[in-house]
Symmetry: C2
Subunit: 930 residues, 2 copies
Amino acid sequence: MTHESVLENSVTKHIYFFGHNQADGRADMKALLGGKGANLAEMNWLKIPVPPGFTITTEVCTYYQKERSYPPGLEQELLENLARVEKIMGAKFGDTENPLLLSVRSGARASMPGMMDTVLNLGLNDRTAQGLIKRSGNARFVYDSYRRFVAMYGDVVMGLKPESKDEEDPFEILMERRKKARGITYDVELTVDDLKALVADFKAAIRERKGQPFPEDPMEQLWGAVGAVFGSWQNPRAEAYRRLNRIPDDWGTAVNVQAMVFGNLGDNCATGVAFTRDPATGERVFYGEFLVNAQGEDVVAGIRTPQQTTLAGARQWAQSRGMPEEERKRSFPSLEEVMPEPFRQLVGIAETLEKHYRDMMDIEFTIQDGKLWMLQCRVGKRTGPAAIRMAVEMVEEKLITKEQALLRVEPDALNQLLRPVFDSAAKKKASPLAQGLNAGPGAATGRIVFNAPDAEAWAAKGEHVILVRTETSPEDIRGMDAAEGILTARGGMTSHAALVARQMGKVCVAGCGTLEIDYAKRHMQVKGRTLREGDWISLDGTSGEIFEGQIPTRPSEVLQVLLDKTLKPQEAPVYQRFAKLLGWADEVRRLRVRTNADQPDQCEKAIAFGAEGIGLCRTEHMFFEGDRIDAVREMIMAETAEGRRKTLAKILPYQKEDFVGIFRVMAGRPVTIRTLDPPLHEFLPHDAKTQAALAAKIGKTPEEVKARVESLAEANPMLGHRGCRLGIVYPEITEMQARAIFEAALQVESEGTPVHPEVMIPLVGYVRELEEQARIVRRVADEVMKKAGKKIAFLVGTMIELPRAALTADEIARVAEFFSFGTNDLTQTTLGLSRDDSGSFLPTYLREKIVSYDPFQSIDASGVGQLVQIGTEKGRKTKPNLKVGICGEHGGDPLSVGFFHKVGLDYVSCSPFRVPIARLAAAQAVLRER
Amino acid sequence: MTHESVLENSVTKHIYFFGHNQADGRADMKALLGGKGANLAEMNWLKIPVPPGFTITTEVCTYYQKERSYPPGLEQELLENLARVEKIMGAKFGDTENPLLLSVRSGARASMPGMMDTVLNLGLNDRTAQGLIKRSGNARFVYDSYRRFVAMYGDVVMGLKPESKDEEDPFEILMERRKKARGITYDVELTVDDLKALVADFKAAIRERKGQPFPEDPMEQLWGAVGAVFGSWQNPRAEAYRRLNRIPDDWGTAVNVQAMVFGNLGDNCATGVAFTRDPATGERVFYGEFLVNAQGEDVVAGIRTPQQTTLAGARQWAQSRGMPEEERKRSFPSLEEVMPEPFRQLVGIAETLEKHYRDMMDIEFTIQDGKLWMLQCRVGKRTGPAAIRMAVEMVEEKLITKEQALLRVEPDALNQLLRPVFDSAAKKKASPLAQGLNAGPGAATGRIVFNAPDAEAWAAKGEHVILVRTETSPEDIRGMDAAEGILTARGGMTSHAALVARQMGKVCVAGCGTLEIDYAKRHMQVKGRTLREGDWISLDGTSGEIFEGQIPTRPSEVLQVLLDKTLKPQEAPVYQRFAKLLGWADEVRRLRVRTNADQPDQCEKAIAFGAEGIGLCRTEHMFFEGDRIDAVREMIMAETAEGRRKTLAKILPYQKEDFVGIFRVMAGRPVTIRTLDPPLHEFLPHDAKTQAALAAKIGKTPEEVKARVESLAEANPMLGHRGCRLGIVYPEITEMQARAIFEAALQVESEGTPVHPEVMIPLVGYVRELEEQARIVRRVADEVMKKAGKKIAFLVGTMIELPRAALTADEIARVAEFFSFGTNDLTQTTLGLSRDDSGSFLPTYLREKIVSYDPFQSIDASGVGQLVQIGTEKGRKTKPNLKVGICGEHGGDPLSVGFFHKVGLDYVSCSPFRVPIARLAAAQAVLRER
C-alpha cells in the first residue's frame, strides 16, 4: 500500500493498521479515524518513529452507540491487527514471558482534550507482570505500571470514577491511606511492596464495589477498554464539551490501540508535550515541557511541575520565577541538557511536521531508554494573539497563503487583542502576590470563587469572578467559561486549565505553586496572606502575575495605536499583524461592515476598527442624557398633539446636535438612523418620588403622572405600543426626528462634510405603516431642504424585525429603499421567546439539547434565518438592487456573519468592538464558499 | 342594441343610457354602472316603467379621484345622452317654457345606503321655476321643490352640510326661523310666498357662507352635482362604511342622472319603498311603506311615519300599536285602498322582479299623478332569520338551487337564531313601556345611551348598552355596532336604523312614536315616565316591545329544540329551516368542524350544533375549579420534582374525572387535549391576603409565597415560560396529564364507549421539544395500557402557533401525528402584536386604514395565513396524510374559514355557538371555489 492508495480500502474495513513507516490510513481521514488515528498513520508515512498499533474507526463507534454491540467481523479484524503489532514489537499480548502491553485511547474527529477516556499499560495481570519484571529487570516500574493500570481500568472501564468532584476516587483514597500508614509524602517513595500491595488493594476495592473481579484475561481487558472508550463518547463531560464547541453527536470517536512505550522505566526515560511554536505568544520557537521517568498523563494532568525542553526556555522560565540558575540546573534541567540526542531528534521531527502540516503542531513524545517515540501529533491550540502572529508570520515565511492565514484565526480571537491590559502605573504600585505561568494572555480582575458552579452562579448575577482551583478538569468547563480569568496552583502551559483557557480566549495564570487552597474553608493562602471567597484579585495572563485587589486596566497595544494614538504603528508589532490580517480580510470579503453606535465617540472607535458606516443609530439613547429626559417626559404626559408638538420643539435642538456630531465623525459614510422605538413607558419614572418631582416640574398632580404611567403599562411590552406604532399614533414624534436629522445633515454639509442619512422605520409589519411614516419623513425633508435652498440625497427604509414583515417583504420593498434585519426582535417573535424571560428555561433547553446554542447569540438559521432569506429574496424580487443589511447582535457573531454572507446580504452592523471580528468572519465566509 | 349585445360597447364609453324599455347596460354590469345604474338598465329590459336617464361609470369616478378632472370626451357624451332624455320626456333641460328636471344620485357596486350624496330637482332656477309653474299649474309644488333643491345643492355640492351632528344645517335653521316667525309647526303649513322667500334666504346664505352665488345655470348645476357625487365617495361616512363592510376603496361610485318624476305634486302622488317579501321575518308577503305627496328621501329619512302598502299589512300594523281601525283608515290608509290601480301594478312588478332576479327585491317607487314609476330596485337587505327563511323557501319554490340558498345566507346570520329571547314568564310580568316596530329580531337588554360616541365608549368599558336616538343616520354606524340594541322614536321598517340594524344583525325597535328624547338632559320620557342615561331597558326586536329594566332571557326556538329539548322539531319551523340549511351545508362542505370545549356540558352543546369532535380541550381551565387550585398552587410552590410529583398526584384524580366526563359525551369522536399551556404565575395569587392564606395551607411563610410569585413574574409572559416549555422544565406535569388522559380513556372504553384521544403539545418551536414531550406521553400511555392490559389508539400532535414551527413544519411533522394551528398566538407572534396591548393603537390603525380589519377577528391572510400555508405544505411534504386543523378564534370566523378551506386544512375548531357558522362558511367556501 502507498500513501496515495489508502483510500482504496474497502468500506467494510473497521480497523486501520499503522507501524513500520506504513499505514492503512492518512492525515485526511480524520472523519473515519479521528484526529489522533489519522495523524498516527500520517507520521508513519513521514518515517517518524511511532509505536505500532491500529485504529478502530468512528463508524464502529456509531454502530456501537446504536446497536450496543460491535459489527460482525470486528473481532477477527482486531486479532489480525494485533498479530501485526506483536510481530513488529517482537512481543505477545498476554504472553507470560514477553508480554506486549497496549494503550487504548479515544480519538475523535475534532480534538476534545481530556474529555474521553484512556487506558494505559493494558495487558498486565499477575502472570504477565512477572514476565515483564523478568524482561525489564525493573519490578518497581512494573508494579507502578500495574497499579496505574488497575486504577485506570477500575475508573474508566468498570465505572468507579466518581461522577462529581465532591466524591474522591476510591483508588486515590487507598493510595493516600497507604502513604499515611507508611509515613511518606510522595508517590515515588512507595516501595515495590507498597505498589504490589496497592495492586491487591485496588483489585479488592473493585470486587467489593462492583461485585465482580478485575479481569485477569488480557483479551477481556482489551474489549472492556475498547467498549469504555466508545461509551465515553456519551459521558456528560464529553457531551458538555461538544455542546460548547458545537461538535455533532453523531461524529463518534475512534479507538486507538497502540503498543505501549514507557517513559517511566528509569531516569533515561521521559515523557513530554511540545509545540512547534510558542502557543501563548505565537513566537517561532520550539516550546515544550517534559517529565523524567513518568507516564504521559502526568504531564497533562499537571500533577508535577514539568521541565522545559529547550535550554533557552528553561532559563527564561526560571528567571521569571526568580529561581537561581543553580537550582534550575539541579531541579529543572532542560531536555536539551539531559538528553541531547533525543532532543535534537525531537526538534528535527518538529520541523518536519510543521513543514508537512503547514501549521503549528502539538506533539506528545515518550523517551524509553533514550529512544524517542512520537505518541501523537495534532494542530496545536493557541491563544488569539498567537493565532494571529502565526498566521501572519507563516504567510511571510511562505508556508501558507493569505487565504489560509485568514482561515487560521477564529474571528473571536481578534477580541483578545482589544482586551484591556493593566494600567502600568497602577500595576507598578500594586504588589504582586505571586507568579504563575502566563497561560492565557490579557488582564482580568474579579472576585475569587473556588469552584465552577459558584463561578456560574456568581456570573449569572453579574459578578466578575476569577475561578481559583488547585487544578482544573473537564468538569469545570462551564465555570471557566463564566469566569473572567482562571488561576491554578498546579500544572504547566499544557495543563488542562491552560489548554482550555487558551481555546476560550480566557485570561489564565497556571501552576502558581505558592498557592495553598482550602476548598472547605473557601480561602487560599499565599506567602502568609489569606484571601477568601469574594475577595478581589487581578491576573495578568500575559506576564503570569497575580495581584491582590482590583487593578485599573488600560487599553491594549492595538487600542493605543487605533484609539488613543499613544503608540505609533511602527512601534506596535501586535497592531501591525492585526492590521495586516484585517487588510487581507478586507481584500477578500464581500459583506460590508457597519456599526451600531449612537454617539460621536462610539462612531470614532468604530471607524478606527474599520466600520464603513452606521447600521443602527438608536435615537432613544439620546433621550436619557442630561435633562433631556424631562422634556421627553413632559411630551409623553401631554394630552394633545398640540401639547406634544410644543414639548417636542424643546427636544429638537438636542436631537439635531446629536446628529450633527455623528454626521461630522462619519464624514460621508452612510448613517442609518432609526426613529423612536421603545414603548413610551420606558421613559417615565415608576417610583412615587420621581413621579412627584416630574409632576411638580410640568405642572401636573402626582396622581396624573401616576395615572399616565399606569395607562401606558403593558402586559407584553415587547409586542406592544412601540416601534413605528408610536409614529403612527403620534406622527409629530416622527416629524420632530426627521426635522432634526435633515437640519443636522444640511448644517454638516454646509460645513463641507458630505452626509448620507438613511432614515430607518422600526417594527414595520404592514407596508401601510411604512408608507405613512415615509410620507412624513419625506415631507419634512422637503420642507427643511426647501427652506435651506439645498438638496441632499437620503434614503428611507425599514427594519425587518417581525415575521410578517419578512413574509410580505415584496410589498414592503415597494416603499422601502433599504431593509435592515433586526434579528434580536425577529428572534423573539419567530421563536415566541422573550429574551428577558428565557432565563427560566433556556438553560434547561441547552442542557437537554433541545437547542444546540443560544439563539440570541448565534442566529437560528433554520427558523429566524429562513425568514431573513425569505425577506431578502422577496424584497429583491420587487427591487433587485435593494440594499439589505442586518443590525441585530448577530451582526458581530462569526457563525451568524457566515450565514448572512450566504444569504447575500449587503452588510452587517455590530457594536464597535466587534467590527474587526465581523470583517474577518466575512472574509472567511467567502473563503469557505470557494 | 339588445340585452345580449350590451357588452359589445366600446371600453372608452363613459356614459350608459337607459329609457323606453331599452338600455346600454345590464344587471350584471354592476362593477361599471354601480348597482343602481345596472338595475335601472335591467328594469328597462323588463319593460318596467323607469324615468329615462343615464349612468356615468365608476371608471370615471376612479379617473376623477386620481386626476381631479374628467376624461376627455365626457362632456360631449353627457350632452348626447341628455338630449336622448329630453327627447323621451318631451322637455328640455334649462328650458324656461318646459324645463326638464333631473335627479343626480350615486350608485356604487355594493349597496351603501345613505352613505353618499344625492341632488334632486336639479335644473331649477328662477326662470325655469316660472316655466314649471306655468306647465304644472302648481306654484306650491314648484317652490317646495325649488327650496329643497337649493338646500340640497348648498349642502351637498357647495359643502354647507355640517360635518358633525352638533352643528345644525344652516338651511334647517332658516326653515325653523321662518316657521317660528309665522307661528306654524309643520312644513306643509308654509305658503307659496314662504317657500319663495326661503329660496331667496337659502341663496343668500350660500353667498354669505361660501362667498359665491348659487349657480343659476342648470348646466353648471349638473356638473357641480356630478362632481359632488364623485367626491362623496371619499367622505368620512362612506369611508367608515366601506371599512366596516370591507368594500375596496378603488371600486368607486357611478352617477345616475335621471329625469325627475314627482311624488309631491299633490294627493294623487306618492313615493314609497317596498320589499317583495317581509325583510324582517322572510315571510312571502309583499311588504312596503309609502307617503302621499312626498319626495323619496322623506321615506328613508324617517321624518314622517309612513303608511303600509297592503291592506293586510296596514291592519296588522295598526293592531300592533293598538290603533282603532277607524283612525287607521283615516290617518294611515294603505296604498291598496288609496291608489288601487298603481298598487296592483306595483305588486305585478314586484312579482316580475323577484322571478327575474330570483331573490327578494327592495324597490323604490314614485307615483306622479296616478302613474307608477320605478326609481330603483336592488336585492333587499334582510335579517338573519329572514335570510334563512327566504333561502330555504325559495329552494322549496324551486326559485333557486340549494347551492344558491347556501350562498344567500351570511354565516353570522345563523347566530341570530341562537340568540336568547326574553324569558316569557319574566316578560309577562314586566310592564311594556311602549311599542315600536320589530325592525331587528332578538332580545336585548342594556343601559341607555343617547349618542353613538357614548355607545362606543361604554361598550369599550364592557357595558351592555342600548342606543336610543330620535332617528339614526350614517354617522351613528359605529355606535350602533357597539350597542346591544337600537331604539328609535321615528322612522319605519325601511328607515336607516332598521336597515342598518338588520344588516348588522342587531336587535332594533324603530319608530316608537311615544318616545320623547331630550339629548341635552340625557333622558327620555315615555307615557309620563322618565328614563335617564344609564338606566336599564330591554328591547324585544321580534315583537317591537320595549320594557323598563332588565328582563331575563331564555333560549331561542332553535336552542329549545337542540339543547333544552323543550320543543319538538316539528313544532319549530325556525329550527326546521335552520336544520335544513345546515344539512345542505354538510352535504357540500369538505372542512370538518370541531369545537373548542373543556367541559362535558359545552361538549353536549357543541355536538347539538354539529361539532364532529373537540379540536381544543384546554386542560388548565379545570385547574381553577373548586379547591383544585389549592393543589395546583402547592405544586407550583414545590421546590423539587419530587415535591411536584406529590402534589400532582392530588390533581391527577380531578383531571382524570374531567376527561372521563368529556370522553363519555364525545362518544368516540376525536378529542384533542392540549397539555398545560399558561405560565404558572397565572395560577398563583397576587394579593397579600390570598398569598398569606395559601402560605398557611401549604406550610410556607407568606414571604416564601410572595418570593415565588415574584420569581415567576415575566416581562413578556406571552413569550415566556409557558406551553411545552413548562413540560420540558417540569416533565412531571406532562406525565400527570398524560396519565389522567389515558386512565380516563381506558375507563370510558371499558364502559363500552369508544374513545379517540389526541394529545396536543402547545407552543412547539423546535422539533426536539415535541420529541421530548411526545416521548413522555407515549411512555405513560404504554405504562397505563400495560397495567390495564388493554390498548387504545391515540395520536400525539402539536399546535403550530409560532412562526418557527410553521417554518420548520417539515421537521416537526417527522414527529407530529397531527398539526393544529393556534392562530391566536400565531397572530400575536407573526405581527408582534399583543392582543392585550393592541388597544392603544389598533383603533388608530383601523381608522387610518393601516389595517383593513382586526387581525384577531379575521385571519391576516397575507402574513399569518402565509405561515399557515407554509406550515401545511411543509408538514404534508414530510407526511402527505398529515391531519391539519386550526383551533384559534378564527375557526368561527366565516372569512377565515374560507381561507382555511382554500389552504386545504382538514378541520376548523371553534366555540360551540359558532359551530353552525363554521359549517355554513365551510360549505360556501366550496361553492365559491366552483
